[in-house]
Symmetry: C2
Subunit: 774 residues, 2 copies
């Protein structure tokens, strides 16, 4: 029961830390030696180069121009200035639409806040329930915040009808805003697809589960099948090669190369001492050997192995997977093939749109059909246990990590552990640390589960992981905070409660937790977002790498780690705020302004980051929007049911039946939107395809499409081989296909290993990169 | 708590009535004057003609050949003799697959019965729980049937593990049988589609929601769109015309014609008296006029109106709906168009496979997209209220229909009502009658809801109505019988109980209701099915019509009412038996043989009916199978959860966690089957299409496909106009397209009004034709 004063103190504290982050950022970003940390996107685009080319040495490191410090908040208007079409051009549609989620939050909650403060707050305020209660025998203490909430309205008061009416108004407004946004984004997507340059995935379909044929190789089989069944449209194809082992070797070599660079640099700085290393696990055990020699030998060995493996992969028929990227002469032909069933057996010759070449998740292309169902089952069960039982290992670690058990298990540490400072540290920090580490690793675990499930593109992996992260947050952040007790004990409670009681239990607890969530929003939303812009971890890592590894300009480019938006962690966080906003809109309207600050701040920060920092990993043309839309709808329905439960306890027995209409209407609104807009996100209209084909045919009648598509879908590991031809090829196409070339270039310059596991998350900056620790 | 003796009496009674029905049938079917009632299918096929052509007058009516009476049970081997491929040829794939549902029941339950009697029954029997209880103070009476059920196993006995293991065995067996059957039927469907003769719907796609264009008519718009977007494949199209009013007029004229025929026949038999009629409602009120003159005048008026309306419909652009049947040059082209999205706006240019011409539900073709969602919402709400609140009007009628209220409302009837016989009738029969009438009308109401929802083919309408009828049965037959109390009070109870308690409440009640359901199976399943074969209502109606209306051979053909399978009532009934069988398999295995008798009897009866009686209304090529499969799966999952609930009360606390694995596995089995087989039922593989196209091209290089398709999808009301050309046309095609011609012929000879509303239901023979009473 916090008072305005308490909230004010917390707010002041969080605003202060947010301000410190922002000022630190404003200062750091102006230093030239941080330039690659805060503006990597521009480097990747080739529009900015190292500041080393001009000025003195000092100027290279510190910015001495005092004028730039005066305008230290200029990044905000700068970030907001870029118009949306330019933003799409600059950072892709995915990023632009991602920003629109924040905007949607503002669109939904600004009118809601105004209305709630104009109507609900006065209705709540002008009661005396809490004041009377506090004068009564119980002597209940209450805070001014509770005076503004629904708790202040007396039992059975007709004033509750205000809340019912407002629930209707809020629902209609939310649905209206959602529909407008869905429509807008569907148009944006189609426009984007229509105005795009030629891209290989427009012509290409991924064919999985090619049935084995004793007389033909996979490539012959594919060719024959499509020549027969798409005679006028089939152009060419590329079989998928299982190069997982080769990728591993290459990655290993790269790591060793990094070590070698490190030792050589160390040696060049200190000629007197050869750097030594150990050959065992993580360089901690084993024989001590000369670092440079050892790594050189290792690299040589790997180079040989790689060459052998490369040869083997290319010739061994076992490495050819029963899948292929089939390209067509026209977009129409590809659209047709992707949307239709090919064979009478619906588990072979499965076709789907090929993802962009850089979006393909190569390792999953060989999973057979039957195992997909089993994998889905295992993934679902694993996620269930992860959600409801994750506290068990965490508590186990926590109980192990207390003083007594350490003293028992490792008696020789007793003297160390008993020292006051260390004791305090263990008692105070370790238990929290165990939980924190788990939460940091969680997105990686979820990505691993999604990978295990067999999705074929990185975008699909991220969407799936985001969905699961949202569910996890809902259970383990939202519900666990509302009702004290672990998720598991809740599950048990809910199994024992009736469908009528559950919304009542939760509904009644909601207004009581308002202050907790206000604090949560300030810590996680305000300070967290402000911390995001500082990019502390990439900053440190960049300077470490710069110091230890960087020799050439190319190394420096690789040391730059722009990261990407991190849809799988960012979107679930926004959704949590939508959920909180919708749940508290009617119950405790005081909550809404805090959400508004979050949406505003996050919008500005992420707009800046998207323009200056993040490097897009793939372009799915906003394919995630149906998920975003659906989750807001679920939050809305949840909030309605909870309000129903709450009203059931307030003595207004007509209110729940009136409120039950809302979820029914919302569900049908959702079905309508799904039918109306979703196809735009999963299918590709033939009309569009035909239009683009016709246009292209008239514009470039002599286009050599086969040449363009021939090499588009070779495994990235083989791309390096053909860099020379490739570059020549991309040069040749440069004017007609600027975007793909740019992307190719950026791919080459971005460090490869960080592509899958090492993505920075925008909003939980402390979580990122844990996946690439190994 | 019935004993074996009670069950024996009930069984004897029901077997007796079943036998009486069967003997009556065996006798009646041999009489030549019933020939058209019991063998209409052969008349429609043109393979049998009226017996009037040969023999004396007596021979025409009564069969005097004593030898045929000796073989009176011959219909059973006759019905079973026809091999399945011939059956498919004779009655269509739908009918053949419908029969396989009964066979599937046998496949699932025969091994289950054997196993259950070999293992579970001895395990249950060799306990003394009930014997001990009956000796105790409570003096519980128990029956020998209960001794065979799970109730006889003592609390906490390890013997319950037998039941758990058997639940696993039964689940795996059911899933295995289901999968085999799904596979088999998918193959049958594809084989059927592949071996079929040329049919217009193979080349045709229904395009809905053609966007309005100010400059073009709908037909121009469609032509341009498809010429642009399917340039190599588009052949021709027919716009859909709103002829609903015209159909009404034609139907009305037909009715008046019937009356005229009746009066003329009456007059011709009794020359002395002109038949009189009243002009008002149902001929009960209004002026008394000469029947023949009045009807003749009415018919003349209607003929004129019809001619005007026909002209108006053909010229008025308002009657042209924004929908069209678009035909393609190849099956490949049609398959592509049906499976892809055409326009960037996913709510216009919606394409789907055209149903067979005779399967199209014309009245729904003009519903716009937005209203579909609203209609769905209204239909769902209506069905919800129908299911849970239907008892309210029924009880209202029942309470009105008692003696006191009649005497109060209509005092002048007191003397009549007080007579003992009438009093007994009112008290005994009226309340039951109100419920019975509602249940008879129910399938018609469900069909109306489905029509309102906007489905475009009769097969889809029936599938939807079947789904709802199943739900209704589940709630109002199964659940209401298990737990006493109306559906509404149950809903209330379930809302108040926890998710853990609900399966316990139902699970515990299940073994206690075994005898009730055994009786139910005997009445509804045994005697009901035997009654079905007698076709009492069509028999009476045929002879009435024959006496009053029939003048020509053509009239006699129209008087014949073969009906159709009635998927919307028959399938839900079978599903109820699947549910009962699966639920009782582990709990009360005594139940299983009764189910087996039902499946055997029903299989024989329906095989006979399909061969000799029913006239197929449409051919959906077993498109209903995914529904059948899914419902058996749901029944299986329900039975597992109920068993879990029951076990929870039996003192075996490890059993529920072990059993919860079953529904999870079953759900994933369902997902697997859905992915593996369902596409075969909703999509048309391009490979198949291409094969058929290629074959046709080589076989008939000079085929005039445009001529063939031009008139295929005109509204049935306009078909009559063009009968002459039509017949010539179908003659011309006779050798290449026997099946369509036959169908056309049968359509012409079947009474048209009975097509939509007047379908006889196979299993609830007293329900049928209520829809066409008007």
């Amino acid at each position: 029961m916090a008072t305005f004063g308490d909230i004010g103190v917390a707010a002041a504290f969080n605003i202060l830390s947010a301000l410190i982050f922002l000022i630190a950022f404003a200062f750091l970003r102006l230093q030239p030696f941080n330039d690659r940390v805060y503006f990597p996107k521009w480097y990747l685009k080739g529009l900015r180069s190292s500041p080393s080319h001009s000025g003195s040495f000092v100027n290279k490191i510190v910015n001495l121009d005092w004028r730039s410090y005066i305008r230290f908040l200029n990044w905000i208007p700068d970030a907001l200035k870029m118009p949306e079409p330019e933003l799409i051009d600059h950072a892709g549609l995915d990023s632009a639409v991602y920003l629109r989620i924040y905007l949607l939050g503002l669109k939904i909650f600004v009118p809601m806040t105004l209305l709630a403060w104009a109507i609900i707050v006065p209705v709540n305020w002008t009661n005396k329930t809490l004041a009377l209660l506090s004068q009564g025998e119980a002597g209940l203490t209450y805070s001014s915040i509770d005076k503004l909430s629904i708790s202040n309205v007396p039992f059975g008061s007709p004033r509750f009808w205000t809340h019912v009416v407002m629930a209707y108004v809020f629902t209609f407004w939310t649905c209206y805003a959602l529909m407008k946004e869905y429509e807008k984004i569907a148009v944006m997507r189609l426009h984007f697809l229509a105005s795009e340059k030629r891209r290989p995935d427009q012509f290409t379909v991924l064919v999985k589960n090619v049935p084995p044929d004793p007389d033909e190789t996979v490539t012959e089989c594919v060719e024959h099948f499509f020549l027969v069944n798409h005679p006028n449209h089939y152009l060419t194809h590329q079989v998928v090669i299982n190069a997982n082992k080769l990728s591993q070797l290459v990655e290993e070599k790269k790591k060793k190369q990094n070590w070698l660079d490190y030792y050589q640099l160390k040696y060049s700085r200190n000629r007197g001492k050869r750097p030594m290393t150990k050959t065992g696990f993580l360089g901690l055990s084993g024989d001590k050997v000369d670092g440079i020699n050892y790594q050189t030998a290792e690299i040589e060995r790997l180079t040989k192995e790689i060459a052998e493996e490369r040869k083997r992969v290319k010739t061994d028929p076992k490495c050819i997977m029963p899948a292929a990227f089939v390209s067509f002469k026209t977009r129409w032909g590809a659209a047709v093939c992707a949307q239709t069933q090919q064979s009478r057996n619906p588990t072979v010759w499965l076709t789907e749109w090929a993802a962009e070449p850089r979006d393909v998740y190569w390792a999953n292309l060989a999973i057979p059909y039957v195992s997909i169902t089993i994998r889905k089952l295992i993934a679902a069960v694993a996620f269930f246990f992860l959600t409801f039982f994750f506290m068990i290992p965490v508590s186990a670690v926590q109980s192990l990590a207390n003083i007594e058990s350490i003293e028992k298990q490792l008696p020789f540490l007793t003297s160390v552990v008993e020292q006051p400072f260390i004791k305090a540290f263990i008692q105070g920090v370790l238990p929290g640390l165990a939980l924190k580490i788990f939460l940091i690793v969680l997105p990686t675990i979820l990505m691993m589960i999604a990978k295990f499930e067999g999705f074929l593109s990185i975008s699909a992996l991220e969407r799936r992981a985001a969905f699961r992260y949202y569910l996890f947050n809902f259970v383990n952040v939202f519900l666990v905070s509302i009702i004290a007790g672990s998720a598991l004990s809740q599950l048990d409670t809910f199994l024992k409660q009736s469908p009528k009681e559950i919304p009542e239990t939760i509904g009644v607890a909601i207004p009581m937790k308002a202050t907790f969530f206000i604090t949560y929003v300030m810590v996680d939303g305000w300070a967290g977002i402000a911390g995001e812009i500082l990019r502390l971890k990439p900053l440190i890592f960049f300077h470490l790498k710069n110091f230890f590894l960087v020799k050439t300009e190319k190394d420096r480019e690789e040391a730059m780690d722009p990261g990407s938006i991190g849809f799988n962690t960012g979107e679930p966080q926004i959704q949590l705020y939508f959920l909180l906003g919708l749940v508290y809109a009617v119950v405790t309207p005081v909550f809404l302004p805090f959400i508004l600050v979050f949406f505003t701040l996050a919008y500005m920060v992420f707009r800046h980051q998207i323009i200056n920092v993040y490097n897009q990993e793939y372009e799915s043309a906003a394919a995630f929007w149906p998920d975003v839309h659906a989750r807001i709808i679920y939050a809305l329905i949840f909030s309605q049911i909870m309000l129903m439960g709450l009203m059931g306890t307030k003595g207004i027995y007509e209110a729940p039946p009136v409120l039950i209409v809302l979820p029914v209407l919302t569900i049908f609104f959702h079905l309508y939107c799904k039918g109306r807009y979703q196809p735009a996100f999963v299918r590709y209209p033939l009309q569009e395809a035909m239009m683009k084909d016709t246009l292209e045919r008239t514009k470039e009648p002599n286009l050599n499409l086969k040449g363009y598509l021939q090499q588009a879908y070779i495994h990235p590991i083989f791309k390096d081989d053909e860099d020379d031809e490739d570059e020549g090829f991309s040069m040749e196409l440069d004017d007609s296909a600027t975007v793909p070339t740019k992307r190719q270039q950026s791919r080459k310059t971005t460090p490869v290993p960080s592509r899958f596991s090492g993505r920075s998350s925008p909003a939980l900056p402390e979580h990122d990169h844990e996946g690439s620790l190994s």
